[in-house]
């Protein structure tokens, strides 16, 4: 009986350790673009742009309990309504157009492609840092390109940080996503840039129904992201 309990305890400790170890994996650091990759004119490049699934809204962080989250949601509900109603995907499309434009300066052999399956459905790739976590190599033949450039925009709208029930900052203009390029022969990143832009509104933010300060800070976040992309490509 004692041995059984001991075994269960050990198993529990091992599982917990494995879960924590998996959660604590080193995040992929920045990979600066390798310019010599684009020197060969026959290297073809595909570009795919993935829109956020959600409409523009307020993204809440730090409201760590269920009731805290309920309070936080009610505090930001008017702002959510405004963002959903007034901010469309036009600015995100402009960011996408900029990526294509900047890459077009590096290579004329670039085209927009459509993925038959979402990236999340691709098989896993076990590689070190500097390699994509999904196996993109299978796309080389189906898309007919050597390099795939991906702009994934995950979240946009506003960001508000809470400490349990209490907001500890104003809602900030917010865009988050990833820009990366993968070599479809090796699955290595040619570029990897995390986009996470939060802009503090100037002055008073709580001005329903138009929330001009938060809306302006959203457009500022868009512009900052554009500048980062210009500098990175």
């Amino acid at each position: 009986m004692l041995n059984f309990r001991h075994s269960v305890k050990c198993l529990f400790i091992v599982i917990t350790t494995l879960i924590l170890a998996a959660c604590g994996s080193t995040p992929q650091p920045l990979v600066e673009i390798e310019s010599n990759v684009f020197t060969k004119p026959e290297t073809s490049v595909g570009y795919v742009y993935i829109l956020p699934e959600e409409k523009a809204t307020t993204h809440i962080y730090g409201a760590s309990c269920l009731l805290c989250y309920g309070v936080a949601s009610s505090l930001t509900s008017k702002l959510d309504t405004h963002l959903e109603g007034t901010i469309d995907q036009q600015e995100l499309n402009n960011i996408s157009a900029l990526v294509l434009e900047e890459y077009s300066i590096r290579t004329s052999n670039i085209k927009e492609v459509t993925l038959a399956v979402p990236i999340s459905k691709l098989s896993k790739f076990k590689g070190e840092l500097g390699f994509a976590k999904k196996d993109f190599r299978a796309l080389k033949d189906s898309l007919g390109v050597d390099i795939l450039v991906v702009l994934e925009l995950h979240r946009h709208g506003a960001y508000r940080s809470f400490s349990s029930y209490v907001p500890n900052g104003d809602p900030q203009g917010y865009i988050a996503g990833l820009l990366y390029a993968v070599d479809l022969n090796s699955n290595a990143y040619i570029q990897y840039l995390e986009l996470d832009e939060k802009v503090q509104p100037e002055g008073e933010w709580d001005e329903p129904t138009t929330f001009p300060s938060v809306t302006t800070s959203y457009y500022q976040a868009v512009e900052n992201i554009k500048n980062r992309i210009r500098n990175a490509i």
Binding site: Y61, G62, L67, G70, V71, S74, L75, S161, F162, S163, S164, Y165, V166, P167, N168, G169, D170, Q172, Q200, E202, G203, E204, W205, D206, E207, T210, P212, S213, T215, T216, Y219, Q220, V222, E223, N224, N227
Partner: protein, 290 residues
């Protein structure tokens, strides 16, 4: 449950508003599109004769998210007291952070602040001087003006924020009849211009500030007399250099004047920034020319 939810909601709402900033003004206009003929306008500065010049500081007052464990055994009232104390603590940290940032920014531009100390705000006025009334003549129809100048750490740019408001018919400031803000950006000065700018002789600084102040008053007159209503220009994103970084203004162009493009933004504020006009022409020309 609903009671608890609403109570927490109002408590947090009351305890944790954005810290007060005197360089901010919500647009108010209960008087209609054009409520003054040009000849009826009367202005008065709210401050003493000196020029209010401050450093541009970081506006992010967010504090770090400190984990807190509320004591559950204290009952409902105790719970609210704990949340209230937590909210008050965070609010005070946010105010302290802002004040500290402002102090630090001011100390970095102290040479410029010293340069203009003793300069009268009235000495910057050109022909708009006649619109200003003396303190004794200020009545409930006099527009109050509060100009605040800001400069960056490098002291190669000056930004004016002019806040204007009109009290109600009884002179009370609780329900304003009009309130707006006009911002005027100077160009970024080259190194040579900057050397002249912070020279012992404060003529260039005064000239730049005068140009900004008079442009702001001209724009304010335009707003008060309905010059900018009904233009319906499309909204666009404009980028201005501020503190050597791109600042976004989202709005519509309403005017082009003396090397400045004037945009009405999402707040209904007016933002004037230099067009492609050469810096030399914009900064150092006499204000009387425009």
């Amino acid at each position: 449950m609903r009671f608890l939810f609403l109570s927490v909601f109002f408590l947090i709402l009351g305890c944790n508003s954005t810290p007060n900033r005197d360089d901010y003004a919500k647009h108010v206009n209960t008087m209609g599109k054009a409520f003054h003929g040009e000849n009826k306008l009367a202005f008065s500065f709210t401050q003493s004769e000196g020029i209010d010049l401050r450093g541009i500081h970081n506006r992010d007052d967010s504090t770090s998210s400190t984990p807190i464990l509320y004591q559950g055994g204290a009952g409902l009232v105790g719970m609210f007291a704990q949340i209230g104390a937590h909210a008050a603590f965070i609010n005070s940290s946010r105010n302290a952070k802002l004040a500290e940032e402002q102090e630090r920014a001011d100390s970095k531009i102290s040479p410029l602040i010293n340069l203009i100390s003793g300069v009268s705000i009235f000495s910057l006025l050109d022909r708009t001087d006649s619109l200003f009334v003396k303190n004794n003549d200020v009545d409930n129809e006099t527009l109050r003006l509060k100009p605040i100048f800001f400069s960056n750490e490098k002291m190669n740019q000056v930004i004016l924020k002019l806040i204007a408001w009109l009290p109600d018919e009884r002179g009370r400031t609780k329900n304003l009849r009009y309130q707006n803000m006009i911002q005027v950006f100077s160009p970024i000065l080259s190194e040579d211009e900057h050397a002249l700018f912070i020279d012992k002789d404060n003529d260039d600084v005064k000239r730049m500030m005068a140009r900004q102040l008079n442009t702001a008053i001209h724009i304010l007159q335009g707003d008060l007399t309905g010059r900018y209503t009904g233009l319906n220009e499309p909204q666009n994103t404009f980028t201005i250099l501020r503190n050597n970084r791109s600042k976004v203004v989202r709005g519509s162009v309403v005017d082009n004047r003396c090397g400045f493009q004037v945009v009405q933004d999402l707040h209904s504020w007016y933002i004037a920034f230099p067009t492609e006009t050469p810096v030399q022409q914009v900064t150092l020309s006499s204000p009387e020319q425009c």
